[in-house]
C-alpha cells in the first residue's frame, strides 16, 4: 500500500451529474478544496438525457404556488414521502431555478420574457383541481441544458475534476465515520486514496439492474454498492418508477412533456383510454397510475401491433411546427429508434424502468443517516448523499416528473452549504485513516486480476437484469417476488466467480464493467428483498395479492442491510417544517 498516494481535500464528491456539480459549485465558490471524481467526463453523466423539465411553482403560466406543489408531491408519493423534505424542496424550488437561469441556462421563453413552463403528470393547481404548467423547460433538452450550464459554471469557479476516475469503495473507520474513498484512474489503472472531511455521493441511479431501461449503461448503482459494502442501509428500494413512454423494444425515453404538450395514449381501438382511468388528469395522471393503466389495456387484449404488446403515443394532432419547436429531440428519437416520424404517425411505447425512488437514506442537509442506539436517523459523520442515489425522501413511493432535476439542485445546494459550514466549524486536521483502509478493495481487485477461470461479467449482469425485469416489474405477486428472491440470491453467489480476460492496466473497460456488477447485485438484492417483504400496494409497488394501500401496517420506510440481508423499518416523517401535514387519502385522479 506504500506506493498508493493519499490526496487530501476538504470535500470529495463522487459523481459529476446534476447533483454532484450543483454541490461542487457551492463548495468551489466558497473557496473550499474540493475534488469531483467522475467515471465519465461530467457532461456525459446521465442527467444530460433528461428531457421534459424542472419543476418549480414560478407561476409564469397559471396561478401557482409552492403549497400546491407540496400537496401534489405528497399525494404523488402515495404518502411515503417525508413531508419535511418535500416542504423544503418545493419552497426552495423557485429560488434554485432562478439561480440556474442566472448561471446562463437556456430556458425557453414566454412572450413576456419569463421562463416557459409546460404541464407534467400529477402537477396541479389548487390541490388537484386541474393540470398546471410548472415544468420549466429548455425545449426537450432540459437535462442537457442544465448539466452543461453547471459544468460551465464549475469551470469558472475552478472546481478540480478527476475525470474518468472511478470510486471503488468508501473508507470508514472503527467509529463508523466516513473518511473518504478509494479511486482508480481508468487511463492508467493507478489507485489513490481521496481523504476528506466530507465525502458526498452523487452517483446517480441503478436503472441498469433492469433489462429494459431508459438509463445509460453507466447507471450501475455504484454509490449504492459502496454504501452497502460499508454497512450503510439502503432505503425504500422496492419503489422503482416505470415511465409510461419508453420506445417499445429500444427503451429510449420519450418525455412526459409529450403528453404535457398534448400528446395522448391510444390502444388498438384508437381509444384515448386514460379518460376512463383518470377522468380528471387523463394522460397527465402520475406515472405509476398511467403505467398500470397501460399494462391493464395490454392484459385485456387492447395492446397494439402484431403481438398486441404495446401502446401508441399519438402527437400527430399537435402539428409539425409545434413538435419541432417544443419536442425536437422526441422527433429525432422517433426517427432513430422507432423508424417513425411522429409528426405523421404515433410511436409504439411501453412502460419502461426509469427511476429509483429509494437509495442511501439522508436528512434534508444531505447527511447520510442510519439507525444507531435506538435513533433511526443518526447521522453518519462525514458522509453525504444527494440526487438519484439518495433517498431524502421527497419522492416516496412514486416520483412526479420534473421533481428529480429539482431534487438534484435543491439538495445539491443544501448539502454544499452544510458541508461548508461543517468544514469551517471544525478546522481541525483530518482524522487519520485506518491501517486497513484499502484492504477490501485491493482484495477485490486482485481476485479479478488473477482470476483464471469463471464467468463473463456481462453474462451475470444480463441474468440479473432479466431476473429483475421478470420478478420486480410493474406486475408483482408474492409468488413472483419470492421466486425472484431465490434467483437473485443464487446470482449473488456467482458474482465472486467473474473471470476477467483483459489484464491491461490501460483503460481497461472490461475491468470497470466487472467491478460494476458487484454494485448491480447489491442494488438488485436490496430491491428484490424489500419488495417481497412489503405486503401492500403503494405507488410504484403494485402487489397483486395485496391490492390496497395499508397505512396502518405499512406507512413506513424500508431499510435493507447487506449484512445478512436484514430488513428494518422506520417511520415516515408526516410533519412538514412549517405548514400543516397532509393526511393520507385514497389517490384518485
Amino acid at each position: 500500500m506504500a506506493n498508493i498516494p493519499t490526496l487530501t481535500f476538504d470535500a470529495v464528491i463522487v459523481g459529476g451529474g446534476g447533483a454532484g456539480m450543483r454541490a461542487s459549485l457551492q463548495l468551489a465558490q466558497e473557496g473550499l478544496k474540493v475534488a469531483v471524481l467522475t467515471k465519465v467526463f461530467p457532461t456525459r453523466s446521465h442527467t444530460v438525457a433528461a428531457q421534459g423539465g424542472i419543476g418549480a411553482s414560478l407561476g409564469n403560466m397559471n396561478d401557482d404556488n409552492w403549497h400546491y406543489h407540496f400537496f401534489d408531491t405528497v399525494k404523488g408519493s402515495d404518502w411515503l414521502g417525508d413531508q419535511d423534505a418535500i416542504e423544503f424542496m418545493c419552497r426552495e424550488a423557485p429560488k434554485v431555478v432562478y439561480e440556474l437561469e442566472h448561471m446562463g441556462m437556456p430556458f425557453d421563453r414566454n412572450p413576456d420574457g419569463t421562463i416557459y413552463q409546460r404541464p407534467f403528470g400529477g402537477h396541479t393547481s389548487n390541490y388537484g383541481e386541474a393540470p398546471v404548467q410548472r415544468a420549466c423547460a429548455a425545449a426537450d433538452r432540459t437535462g442537457h441544458a442544465l448539466l452543461h450550464t453547471l459544468y460551465q459554471n464549475n469551470l469558472r469557479a475552478g472546481t478540480q475534476f478527476f475525470v474518468e476516475w472511478i470510486a471503488l469503495d468508501l473508507i470508514r473507520d472503527a467509529d463508523g465515520d466516513v473518511l473518504g474513498v478509494v479511486g482508480m484512474f481508468l487511463e492508467t489503472g493507478e489507485l489513490a486514496v481521496f481523504q476528506a472531511k466530507a465525502t458526498l455521493f452523487a452517483t446517480g441511479g441503478a436503472g441498469r439492474i433492469y433489462a429494459a431501461s431508459t438509463n445509460a449503461y453507466i447507471n450501475t448503482g455504484d454509490g449504492l454498492g459502496m454504501a452497502a459494502r460499508a454497512g450503510i442501509p439502503l432505503q425504500d428500494m422496492e419503489f422503482w418508477q416505470f415511465h409510461p413512454t419508453g420506445v417499445a423494444g429500444a427503451g429510449v425515453l420519450l418525455t412526459e412533456g409529450c403528453r404535457g404538450e398534448g400528446a395522448v395514449l391510444r390502444n388498438s381501438k384508437g381509444e384515448r383510454f386514460m379518460e376512463r382511468y383518470a377522468p380528471n388528469l387523463k394522460d397527465l395522471a402520475p406515472r405509476d397510475f398511467v403505467s398500470r393503466s397501460m399494462d391493464q389495456e395490454i392484459k385485456e387484449g387492447r395492446g397494439c401491433g402484431p403481438n398486441a404488446d404495446y401502446i401508441l403515443l399519438d402527437m400527430t394532432h399537435l402539428g409539425e411546427a409545434e413538435i419541432m419547436k417544443r419536442l425536437p429531440s422526441v422527433h429525432e428519437i422517433g426517427l432513430n429508434f422507432a423508424n417513425v416520424d411522429c409528426t405523421q404517425e404515433p410511436i409504439p411505447v411501453v412502460p419502461t424502468i426509469h427511476y429509483q425512488m429509494g437509495g442511501i437514506p439522508t436528512n434534508i442537509h444531505g447527511q447520510v443517516v442510519a439507525p444507531k442506539d435506538g435513533n433511526p436517523n443518526a447521522v453518519v459523520n462525514g458522509f453525504y448523499a444527494i440526487g438519484e442515489c439518495s433517498c431524502v425522501s421527497v419522492h416516496g413511493a412514486n416520483r412526479l416528473g420534473t421533481n428529480s432535476l429539482l431534487d438534484l439542485i435543491v439538495f445539491g445546494k443544501a448539502a454544499g452549504e452544510h458541508i461548508v459550514e461543517q468544514v469551517r466549524k471544525s478546522p481541525a486536521a483530518h482524522k487519520s485513516l485506518p491501517a486497513d483502509a484499502m484492504d477490501k478493495t485491493l482484495a477485490r481487485l486482485s481476485r479479478l486480476d488473477n482470476s483464471k477461470s469463471g464467468e463473463y461479467a456481462q453474462d451475470i449482469a444480463n441474468d440479473i437484469r432479466t431476473t429483475m425485469q421478470a420478478h420486480a416489474g410493474v406486475f408483482r405477486t408474492q409468488k413472483i417476488m419470492d421466486e425472484g428472491v431465490t434467483k437473485i440470491l443464487e446470482l449473488d453467489k456467482r458474482v465472486p466467480h467473474i473471470h476477467l480476460k483483459d489484464n491491461s492496466q490501460v483503460f481497461n473497460t472490461a475491468r470497470i464493467e466487472a467491478l460494476e456488477v458487484e454494485n448491480l447485485i447489491e442494488a438488485a438484492k436490496a430491491t428484490m428483498l424489500s419488495a417481497a417483504a412489503r405486503k401492500e400496494s403503494r405507488g410504484a409497488h403494485a402487489h397483486n395479492d395485496c391490492p390496497e394501500r395499508d397505512d396502518e401496517n405499512w406507512m413506513k420506510h424500508t431499510l435493507w442491510f447487506k449484512d445478512g440481508n436484514r430488513l428494518d423499518y422506520k417511520p415516515v416523517q408526516m410533519k412538514p417544517l412549517t405548514v400543516d401535514s397532509i393526511p393520507p387519502k385514497k389517490r384518485t385522479f
Binding site: H46, H102, P106, F107, T149, I218, V252, E332, T509
Partner: protein, 235 residues
C-alpha cells in the same frame, strides 16, 4: 437470413503493442442489434479487450464518437441497416490514442475552456429570472445543443494541424453561443480573446464539421458570424 458483418477495428494498447494494428472480426447479427454500438457491445463479448467509451446509447452524451468507414459519427446513432457488410472503425482522427478507440480529448477540452464557456453578466441578479424574449432565445438554437463529442473538430484539417492554437468548430460554436446570448455582457472581452490569426481565422470553410455533426449543428455558419463580428470590430 443471417447477417454477417466484417468489422475491422483499430487496436492499440500501449502497454503491450509496439504499434497500432487493424484487427478483423466476423460478427453475426441476430436482428436484436439496431445500431453500431450494439454490434460493438456484442463484439466485446467475443473479445473483452476491445476498448471504447459509451454511456447514453441515444446520442446525447457524446461518448462514442469514432471514425466509421472514413466518416466521424456516434456509434449509437449509426444504424446497422445503413452500414455496409464491411465496417472499418478507427478512433477519432488527430487526437492521441489512449487505447483502441479511446482518444485523449484534453486538447479538445482545452480549446473549449479557452472561449470562457459560461455566461458572463456581473450585474446584480434580479430576484426572478433575467428576461429574454423568445426571439432572443431562438438565437441560441442550433448552438447550445452541442454534446462535445468532438466529431467535428477531429474531422477538421485546420484543427489537425493546429490543435493547440485553432479553437476548432466545436469551441467556436460555443463561443458564438455566448457572444449571441442577450444576457451576456462580455462581447468585447470575448472578441478580443479570439482576435488573432489562429483562433478563428484558421477556418477555411471546408464544412467537414457540418457534414459530420450528429446533432445537425452548423459550426461553419457560427464561425462566419464570429468572423463578421471580428471584422466589424476592427473597422
Amino acid at each position: 437470413m443471417t447477417d454477417v458483418r466484417t468489422i475491422e477495428v483499430y487496436r492499440y494498447d500501449p502497454a503491450k503493442d509496439e504499434a497500432p494494428y487493424m484487427q478483423t472480426y466476423t460478427l453475426e447479427l441476430d436482428g436484436s442489434e439496431r445500431m453500431l454500438l450494439d454490434a460493438l457491445i456484442k463484439l466485446k463479448k467475443q473479445d473483452e479487450t476491445l476498448s471504447f467509451r459509451r454511456s447514453c446509447r441515444e446520442g446525447i452524451c457524446g461518448s462514442d464518437g469514432m471514425n466509421v468507414n472514413g466518416k466521424n459519427g456516434l456509434a449509437c446513432l449509426l444504424n446497422l441497416n445503413h452500414l455496409p457488410k464491411r465496417i472499418v472503425i478507427r478512433p477519432l482522427p488527430g487526437l492521441p490514442v489512449i487505447r483502441d478507440l479511446v482518444v485523449d480529448m484534453s486538447m479538445f477540452y482545452k480549446q473549449y475552456e479557452k472561449i470562457k464557456p459560461y455566461l458572463i453578466n456581473d450585474t446584480p441578479a434580479p430576484a426572478k429570472e433575467r428576461l429574454q424574449s423568445p426571439e432572443e432565445r431562438e438565437k441560441l438554437d442550433g448552438l447550445y445543443e452541442c454534446i462535445l463529442c468532438a466529431c467535428c473538430s477531429t474531422s477538421c484539417p485546420s484543427f489537425w494541424w493546429n490543435p493547440d492554437r485553432f479553437i476548432g468548430p466545436s469551441g467556436l460554436l460555443q463561443a458564438y453561443r455566448f457572444l449571441i446570448d442577450s444576457r451576456d455582457q462580455a462581447t468585447e472581452e470575448r472578441l478580443a480573446n479570439l482576435d488573432d490569426p489562429f483562433s478563428v481565422f484558421r477556418c477555411h470553410g471546408i464544412q467537414n464539421c457540418v457534414a459530420v455533426c450528429p446533432k445537425g449543428l452548423n459550426p461553419t455558419k457560427a464561425i462566419g458570424h464570429i468572423r463578421n463580428m471580428l471584422l466589424r470590430r476592427a473597422t
